[in-house]
Symmetry: C2
Subunit: 156 residues, 2 copies
């Protein structure tokens, strides 16, 4: 609210090890890389896995919503959906009221594929929070939800 | 320690909005995308920015250490260092005791480049933590540091 701009602290003052975006990039770089090698084994890519993960818990989102949830760019998502549809992992359905809007649904086969990778994701997740109490994890997740509110451009 | 495996909760039970890796990917996807467009304006790439950021606070790391800190793959880093050296933003120096090991240093020009982008990074960072108390931020960073300890493969 003040009209005076506060001095911007330098990165060296904050310290790399205290700079949250740096820590999050390090953590997610490692998490995604480790998941990537698990995915290779069952011939999935990261966008395919994210698409199936979202569709396993959200029923029939629009493609543009799916792109946001799955953190996959629209053009990549488009190719990913083509391949997943070819493999009968998902199906698309035109919206009843808006012929330009398309919903995406997971099939039984898609669900089976996600069930194969989920135990590895759950294990990585468990390893990530090793030695962290439930209270600390809950507080952490609550802060993450606030950060997402702060940075997101969309309402979902 | 128990020999019995606990039942793995399903993603739908945890809930996408409570699944920390999902939230972190969403947050960092947005943060990195917004930074990316700021970087384009001054003709920097994400690997170049990360390299300069790390070198602005860590003096003369080995290339393999730099790859870890900057979360950039070795092959990408190698090309990035070539370009930064061409533009006299960094310089390389062979280790005194090990002729196969190379240290990387930022130059005055490189520091000036980073100074141009840092205010934008600091602003994104500030926006990310808008409305979050210092205590909550500190607790959040402390948890991030533990997560990094849990997932990292290297000692740095």
């Amino acid at each position: 609210m003040s009209e005076k701009k506060p001095n911007v602290p330098k990165l060296g003052e904050i310290g790399l090890q205290n700079f949250a975006p740096y820590l999050m990039n390090r953590i997610m770089g490692r998490y995604n890389a480790s998941l990537y090698s698990d995915l290779l084994e069952i011939r999935l890519t990261t966008p395919k896995m994210r698409t199936l993960a979202v569709l396993s818990v959200i029923d029939g989102p629009l493609i543009r919503e799916l792109a946001i949830y799955a953190v996959v760019e629209q053009s990549t998502l488009s190719r990913t959906l083509d391949k997943l549809e070819e493999d009968q992992q998902i199906r698309r359905e035109t919206d009843r009221d808006d012929s330009r809007a398309t919903h995406v649904f997971i099939t039984a086969d898609g669900r089976a594929t996600f069930e194969r990778i989920w135990p590895k994701m759950a294990k990585s997740y468990e390893n990530m929070f090793k030695g962290i109490t439930l209270d600390e994890r809950n507080a952490f997740v609550a802060t993450l939800q606030k950060l997402l509110q702060n940075v997101r451009h969309h309402d979902i």
